[in-house]
Amino acid sequence: MSRYVATRAIRGANAIVAEADVLLQKALKEKGADQAVAFPNTAYFLPVALGMMGHEVSTLGELEPVMTYAKSMLHPIPDSKVWTPYLGETLDSGMATLLAAETIEAIRFVYGEQPEPYPGFQLAGGTSFTSPDNGGEPSLDGHLNGPIDDIQLRSWGIQLVDGRMPGFAAIIGAARSNEAAVSIVRELQQRSILTFLSGNVNGRSIIDQLQEEGVEMGYDTYIVPFGRDTLSAIYALGFATRSALTFGGLKGGQWRDILLYNKNRVFAFALALGEVDDLKYAAAAGAISYGFPVIADTIIPEILPTGVTRYEHVISMPWNEIEGETESEKAKQLVQKCIEVRGVKIQITEVPVPVPYGSAFEGEVVRRADMRAEFGGKGSRAYEYLFMADMDDVEDGKIEVIGPEFDTLDEGGFMDLGILVKVAGRKMESDFEPVLERQIHYFVNGASGIQHIGQRDIAWIRISKAAAEKGFTLKHFGDILHARFHGDFGTIVDKVEVKIITEPKLYAEWLEKAREAYNERNERMGAMTDESVEDFYSCTLCQSFAPDHVCIVSPERLGLCGAYNWLDCKASFQINPTGPNQPIKKGECLDDDKGYFTGVNEYAVQASHGSVSDVAMYSVMENPMTACGCFECIMMVIPEANGFMIVSREDTSMTPAGMTFSTLAGVAGGGLQTPGVMGHGKFFVLSKKFIRADGGLKRVVWLSSIMKEQMAEQLKEAAIREGDPDLIDKIADERDCTDVEGLVKHLQEKNHPALSLPPLM
């Protein structure tokens, strides 16, 4: 905690509490202790006093305990020589300030000074208020809004709770110029963020600025003018307190729960425009208790460590240092920063492209005859590369096309294309880069008339004539990616920037960088071992039809469907913490060779509802992992051959086990543990942990030819690693034999190593 900030906040609190006290004594004398005190149209009395103290104020006299309490939270100004921790004192002072501010506003209501009169002002919907000036009828004219009534609280509260409204901004002070004021408010409005206005700088308020510019304020426009002094900002915290009481099921006096509710669920922040005086510091300290960070457009000391708020507490972003040509560009940056500091998530519901969009179009094929342009494939190359960067280095929503568009091509022509996606996020990790990058395939494919195949530098994209005619351009790839990454991966990604490159020189330059990254990722993934991590992940996605099956996914053993590796599961858990992929603490390793872990066994018991109690991660002969039915391959012991056959899903031929894949699936699936039979993912065959306890790759005596072809290179490498470079040639496939006699003969001819290994049974 900055001593400067602490000093000013504590000083501000002391002053305002003293002022409130004087005001209360005067009011008691003039109006009497029984004089009724209330904010209009609310059942929550004075909400901050109710929430924090459990104290219901309905008369002037009942304000006295509030002041006593506020005074008890005051502290002396920190010594200028002795440095002590003052976070506690500062937060106390903040709370004292809020209670004093609420007291003052309540008294002002008694004297008819609230809601603040503002001649000529007309609210666009708001808390209607009866005043003698309009003959005692409720009216929206001639005054600012004051506190929000309960009806509006519920209506907006529902939108805040269900996420349609991402949060609220409490703006205090005045912007540098009218233009800046309008720009800031419009930026917030565009993001559906509720805006509360209060305060002034040297007598001039943002409310005046917006009024001069003809901006409508009131409930209907989501811009609520509370009042032209700092004290009216208390209504924002009253609103926050009542949200917790209404939607959090909390009662007055549960101050800790109310503050935590706001920290965790109400995405609000304070934006201080212009000079920050003692009172503003003190009020800001109050806001911080609610977990609301403070962003200032002037130079003030920053408080960056997290704690009371989710991220930074106080951020200074001096207006004249913000990059941007115009006021509106600066406003955009400032608002972006606010959103980032509070962790407000923006929702994008529609993908803004001129063609229909949805998962129904994912499998669509664009034939050569219907094709307008092609990237990748035979004539050209295309790559896609997603990488993370620092928050400040990514401009959300920026989409650039560098180089010629495809309208320069002849019909059916081709060109080179690079898609770069730069993302940033508080929860983003470099491990998630490949997971997100692979989504590009699905996202791009969702557009009608666009075909996407492959990934990395073997991507291949076609745009149909129909899509081009509807106005689809390269920029729309960026729009799709921006919208979908926010929509589907918003929990880990806060900012997305896209560059589409067709300019040859830049294309080549980035291709180099992308390839370096691909290699580095391959190596990182290759170096990741089961020993190097604490957690494995579960996958219970298939329990809907195999109720007792649970997949255990480790770095060296991917899911049996081939669709989920360890990193995918990790990312999935971040995105959906209650979903099917849960971390499993590995616990103690009971048997390194067979792969028994205490944590895995415990989890298996629970998730299989007691039907599986032990899982050997690296064996098929003893407690093999169960399977649902989605396996890419099935492995089965062939005792006569002293080894295992592996048949892949695509292979319809007979196998030496005397069963085809589909017959075997009945034995391997359904969540049953059958020693000697196991469903697994194709790439598991390449793992160093692949049935290690049973002899590893050297035990494989028969393997569907399609796998041999698809994974030729990798299998060769694995064979070299196992010390038998010709191993793959020694393994039979359906072209050599489909029965045991033929298999044994083949193995003897080829001198397969399994024959000389210890007997399996």
């Binding site: 519920r154 509260g157 709770v161 269900d162 959090g248 509710y261 219970t540 809907s544 209650t578």
Partner: protein, 322 residues
């Protein structure tokens, strides 16, 4: 020789949930409905206690439905013309809960409006002293638009609001939080998804005592065994102590049974199918009673006669001593 019946010992029980509020509780209902609380599998009285019998909800609509079987409309007669009369008729049939389903469009084809919803909810609340449920037509945006005013109109009545689904639950839950109601959490026949949605709703701050779980079912002959199995597994998990599966279950055999060919079609079907009306009624009865066997705490019915028929099954099963 005396035969010893083996008894299962369970460690946990189904959570109790109360729908509706009397005047003492801030509402205007003449009575409330409490379900759940059992500590063994359905009707196995020698293994646990059953403080509350399975309850019957009767579905009513905000207007005469366009797509209901003529058998149902004939049986309902003019009560189907007016939600207030329909609610009173349902009460007379012996319903424990009025299950009001809002239509997406009004009779003249225009979109339903919040004003109309308020009026209908008010009418139904005034017409009956039974607790009520109000659910939308089942299209996310329309549901949200209609359920929020319904929740507001019924403030304090502890109404069951729905239907919360994985893709659309936040607004309905927020409305329940704001106006002290309950929600129906519906997921497509999967134990983990049922559990997950309960967790998500609970994470928003709605207490578990205000969530009814709807695991979805199919009608007799149309996947009922699948629904049965999911419900059975949910209940087994609940009784063995899995907290997030302990919600009482509500299912809709009425809607399911009345949309299958056997109950919908009276002509051009094999003669062996027998009398149409009898067949259709039996289809609903058997779907409902089967689900009660698998642990349903509330079943939603449509045909007036079936309320008494299903009630008799429940009473007979509940009074069995061994």
């Amino acid at each position: 020789m005396a035969v010893e019946i083996p008894k299962e010992k369970w460690t946990a029980q189904v959570r109790k949930v109360t729908i509706g509020a009397t005047s003492e509780e801030g509402g205007t209902r003449a009575k409330t409905l409490t379900v759940g609380g059992e500590s063994a599998l359905p009707f196995l009285h020698y293994e646990g206690s059953f403080p509350n019998k399975p309850a019957l909800a009767v579905e009513i609509r905000d207007r005469k439905p366009d797509d209901w079987s003529p058998l149902l409309l004939d049986a309902l007669g003019e009560t189907a013309e007016d939600p207030a009369k329909w609610a009173q008729a349902a009460e007379a049939m012996g319903a424990d809960l009025i299950y009001l389903v809002l239509s997406a469009a009004t009779a003249d084809g225009n979109p339903n409006t919040p004003e109309n919803v308020r009026a209908v909810v008010r009418k139904v609340l005034d017409a009956t002293g039974l607790p009520i449920a109000v659910v939308g037509p089942g299209q996310a945006e329309i549901d949200n638009e209609l359920i929020v005013p319904a929740a507001e109109e019924a403030d304090g009545e502890r109404v069951l609001l729905g239907v919360c689904e994985e893709k659309n639950y936040r607004t309905i839950v927020a409305a329940a939080l704001a106006h002290n109601h309950l929600v129906q959490s519906k997921t497509p026949m999967d134990v983990n998804l049922s559990k997950q949605l309960v967790i998500l709703i609970n994470d928003m701050g709605l207490p578990l005592e205000r969530i009814m779980m709807d695991p979805t079912t199919g009608a007799l002959g149309y996947g009922i065994e699948y629904g049965y199995s999911v419900m059975e597994r949910l209940r087994l998990a609940a009784l063995t102590g899995d907290k997030m599966t302990q919600q009482p279950m509500i299912v809709d055999p009425g809607a399911e049974a009345w949309k299958v060919k056997e109950s919908k079609v009276g002509e051009g079907v094999p003669e062996a199918w027998g009398d149409w009306n009898r067949r259709a009624l039996n289809w609903e009865t058997l779907t409902a009673t089967t689900l009660i066997h698998s642990g349903a705490n509330i079943v939603i019915l449509r045909h007036p006669e079936n309320v008494a028929r299903v009630r008799k099954v429940i009473d007979d099963l509940s009074s069995a001593t061994t």
